[in-house]
């Protein structure tokens, strides 16, 4: 097999892995961001 295929394979795997990981991180951040926005959650004695 052409030795250059290793580079090509590495490149494609990288693209898919990074885009996948970014998608997963977006899901996680979405979950975290929407948690607690449902109601008035007092944080550390807010007010004044």
């Amino acid at each position: 097999m052409n030795p250059y295929w290793e580079y090509v394979r590495a490149g494609y795997i990288l693209v898919w892995v990074v885009l996948g990981a970014y998608s997963v991180s977006l899901t996680a951040r979405r979950r975290e961001a929407s948690r607690g926005s449902g109601g008035p959650v007092p944080r550390g004695g807010a007010g004044g």
Binding site: R43, A46, G47, G48
Partner: protein, 253 residues
Amino acid sequence: MPPGPNLARSPQESAGAPAATAGVPAVEAEGLGKRYGARWALAHVDMRLAPGRSLLLLGANGSGKTTLLKLLSTAVTPTLGRIRLFGLDARRDREAARRRLALLSHGAYHYEALTARENLRFACDLTAVPDPRRAVDEALARVGLASRGDDPVRTFSAGMRKRLALARLLVQFPDLAMIDEPYGALDQSGFALVDSVVADLRAAGRTVIVSTHLAERGARLCDEAVVLAGGRVHWRGPAREAPGVFQALGAFE
């Protein structure tokens, strides 16, 4: 809503408007609100003050006095609501409005490495005060800093800095003067100085807003009063009744 467009400045900058146009209030605010992140420092404040009148702002620490003065003086853009100063929109005609007002604030606006005289002269040059040299000398003498005029502000005590801030207000002698906690750091003669400066402004027909937590003292200076609590207007009425309201408010809190 965040601050509006500023790239396109409105062309109308009429500096030479008459000092007191009949019927136009000096200060007019509707539905003012300011949010700092998740906290509303001020909400639902409406105000109206006729030219030549003086207003006392009373309130405990954190009641929103300073925020209100920052908004009214155009130093900070309100999150909600609108302000008109002498009929000028505080956002669109900001520069024209700023020509007619001055704020004496906690941050005293001095450059530490400049002398008292240089600091005042800088303010004069940017506001185009006529005969600045004399104005500066007179103001320094008035606040009792004549002998220290050529010392850098770095060497000044807190009380002297406050006096210098008063001198700055005197050289500007604006149509609308806003004074935030003027008595802090001052001694007895300083108290009297503040009172006489405010009296001068009023005698010259200027509009004055004074914020303080010294209710009795403030009430003697002003016509009207607003008591703030928790960032809202709690009470408004004649200044002489304000100390009683303020005391009662303190008793409940």
